[in-house]
Amino acid sequence: MTDMMRLIEPLIPALRRYARALLRNPADADDLVQDCLEHAVGRWHQRRADGDARTWLFAIVHNLAVTQMRRRARRGAHLPIEDTAEANLAVAPTQESGLRHRDLMSALDALPEEQRSVLLLVTVEGLSYAETADILAIPTGTVMSRLSRARDRMIQLMDGADGTVPAKRPLLRRVK
């Protein structure tokens, strides 16, 4: 039990960050992390003995989030970023960085779900390519190709198609 506390507790901030990056809505994200922790506490003895607690927990959060996003997509409840209340954004934008931040979030939203998770796990969570492959249950080669595609797409969306034109909102709207 104390072993479980020692291994899980330090990961909670990162689990919240990943859930927030995927779902964007803070309350939904914390609901998800709560589900994940309850699940983890109940199933602690069932996890692979040789397994890493971090990849195990991230996999639980990821699977819960994907289920929820698909359900949300079916219900058509997806919030376009323009309509999202400031409080729902990951971080309240400061005046000068606000537009830039919005472009980043819009571009992230425009990525296919499977590219977005790879990009977030590697970039924001700092997980290794092998750990990311483990969490998403895909080969490492697939992680690499999705990562490369995700990054190029982000740049394209944020900087404009030809790489020189600064971000234009109409362009973003069109690709959505």
Binding site: M1, M4, M5, I8, E9, I12, P13, A14, R16, R17, R20, A21, D30, V33, Q34, D35, L37, E38, H39, V41, G42, I60, N63, L64, T67, Q68, R71, A90, V91, R100, H101, L104, M105, L108, L119, L120, V122, T123, V124, S128, Y129, M144, L147, S148, R151, M154, I155, M158, D159
Partner: protein, 257 residues
């Protein structure tokens, strides 16, 4: 000495600072000769920094009380419900309301996972099992039709277990609402007026959950999950009868899937 050619994976590795020192020097040298690739890598490095900065504040926030792990562990340590074999039917009537499921409801007002499933099953048992007029919506004449209906609405293949070997006749089924979405409800009887129901719905978490007993004041039940599909069996019968039946169903559905 021939050098391995520089590939896209090397460039990503450089962006993520995952290359060994020797390889990193080789990639840097390559970029010195390829200004276009250098420009792209620099933009990718900037993107990485931007993304990390954008989400860093979330991890720095204080963790909300409801995500306090000690609290979550504590909430799970409810007074354990007595083992079924030790619980005579009379005792069950006495403590049914205060102990067992009733207490869990009071402690955790919004059940999740297997508990939510068990609760939905008991509620539907209480409504439909005593119904004389229309206990089921689709009668059992066509087992495949019920299976097809449930599979379509639950968005995954669902079987209708045959329990005639155990002496139970399938009466039919209906689709019911639960807080987690649609669920399939099957009803069986033993030919002497005793009915039980089985509720099935997809769980939010993939995989299996071990079988757990539960009880309301008037019914007993077992709930479990198999490959992401939750099952809950509820009836007024003694757990000594329901438990082997639940095991039979679990074996049957495991084979069917």
């Amino acid at each position: 000495m021939t050098m391995r050619p520089i590939g896209e994976d090397d460039l990503q590795g450089l962006v993520d600072e995952r290359l060994e020192a020797a390889r990193q020097r080789e990639v840097e040298a390559f970029l010195d000769d390829h200004p276009e690739a250098r420009a792209r890598v620099e933009r990718l490095v900037a993107l990485r920094a931007e993304m990390r900065a954008a989400f860093a504040p979330v991890a720095a926030e204080p963790v909300p009380a409801r995500l306090n792990l000690a609290r979550i562990v504590e909430a799970r340590r409810q007074p354990p419900r007595p083992a079924w074999h030790a619980m005579a039917a009379g005792l069950l009537l006495l403590v049914g309301g205060a102990g067992g499921w009733g207490l869990r409801e009071a402690v955790s007002p919004v059940p999740t996972g297997i508990e939510a499933l068990a609760q939905s099953a008991s509620m539907n048992y209480a409504v439909y099992a005593p119904d004389h007029t229309r206990p089921v919506e689709l009668v059992a004449t066509n087992r495949d039709e019920i299976a097809g209906w449930f599979s379509a609405r639950l968005k995954r293949p669902v079987g209708v277990p045959d329990l005639s070997g155990a002496g139970y006749r399938l009466m039919g089924g209906r689709l019911v609402a639960t807080p987690q979405g649609p669920a399939g409800l099957l009803m069986y009887d033993d030919g002497h007026g005793a009915r039980f129901v089985m509720l099935m719905r997809p769980m939010s978490v993939p995989g299996d959950a071990p079988m757990r007993p539960y009880a309301t004041a008037s019914a007993n039940g077992y709930a479990w999950a198999q490959d992401g599909l939750g099952y809950s069996l509820v009836g007024a019968a003694d757990p000594a009868i329901l438990h082997p039946l639940a095991d039979t169903i679990r074996r049957a559905t495991a084979k069917a899937i």
